[in-house]
Amino acid sequence: MTVRLSMQGVMRGAREMAFITASTFLFGVTFGVAARGVGMEGWTALAMSMAVFAGGSQFAALDLWHAPIPWGPLLVATFAVNARHLLLGASLYPWFSGLPPWQRYAAATLLSDANWAQAVQAHAKGERDAGYLIGSGLVMWAAWAAGTGAGAMLATLSAAALKAFGLDLIFVTFFACILVEMRRDGRDDLPWLVAAAAAVAALWWLPPHWHVLVGGVAGGVAGVLRDAGR
């Protein structure tokens, strides 16, 4: 299959992402509840979820949401929390480089952790349609917006009830499944250990939200250095 961006790819991505979105919905509910908790109006929380679609940075924004808006800290925090997207995008470049630039940058609009992971897995199985990332992003976006709306409307709704079904465990478990599938014997173990150590160190000693970026770069560099030394 040649590299392209088509509606069929969008539909494939949406279908294969559907189950994972239960976790996105739950996370959206907690954001909606938290937003009302700091006094944000429901429509504002929903507008933010629809326009920004990046949970970590939206939670960070809640801490800064007062009048007057602290523009510098708000935009810097948004960048810092979402800087890991730079790595996700870079890793898709070998796949997307064959597309016209407008398609490449359009496909990145809904890039986030889970649909990136899903797309990487699909690519390993032969998927070449960039629409896959858009479709899987669209169902996540819809679940995120719906969850935010539900949380904001029913601010008393208990996220704990949903947690009882383990819905908050879906993301981390899903990423672990993909790792098992992705692992190459003898090649990935060392870089992945370095990534884990660096991420945990960043979690402990750096400001919040830097651990994915730090772990990702550390593991990537470790792998290349090891190969160069062989």
């Binding site: 933010m48 009048a67 990145a108 609009t109 908050d168 499944c177 990534a195 994915v212 770069v217």
Partner: protein
């Protein structure tokens, strides 16, 4: 709370910054000449990002997350079926939490 216009402006600012991070990685790579070393870096990068998502999250969540991850990994090794491993892993994690 900020006025409605200011709130919308702040949301627009966040959206622009966030899109820049989404498109920025692809944009940067246009300016990096592709070599075997860069390709190998990107391949290691994907796995390392996943590791850096999983390990700190499990560390913060504690027992239920580790058990869900371990159960899913075992099912994955045995069957290679992602959805099955995911559902069983989450179910085992939730069951552990309920105990």
């Amino acid at each position: 709370m900020p006025d409605a216009e200011i709130a919308l402006l702040a949301i627009a600012g966040m959206a622009v910054v966030t899109y820049a991070t989404r498109a920025g990685g692809l944009w940067l790579m246009v300016h990096v000449p592709m070599s075997r070393r860069v390709e190998s870096f990107l391949r290691y990068l994907s796995g390392s990002v996943l590791v850096a998502l999983v390990v700190p999250a499990a560390l913060q969540e504690g027992g239920a997350a580790w058990i869900a991850v371990a159960a899913a990994a075992l099912v994955m090794l045995a069957t290679k079926r992602t959805l099955l491993a995911l559902v069983l892993g989450v179910a085992v994690g939730a069951a552990y939490r309920a105990l």
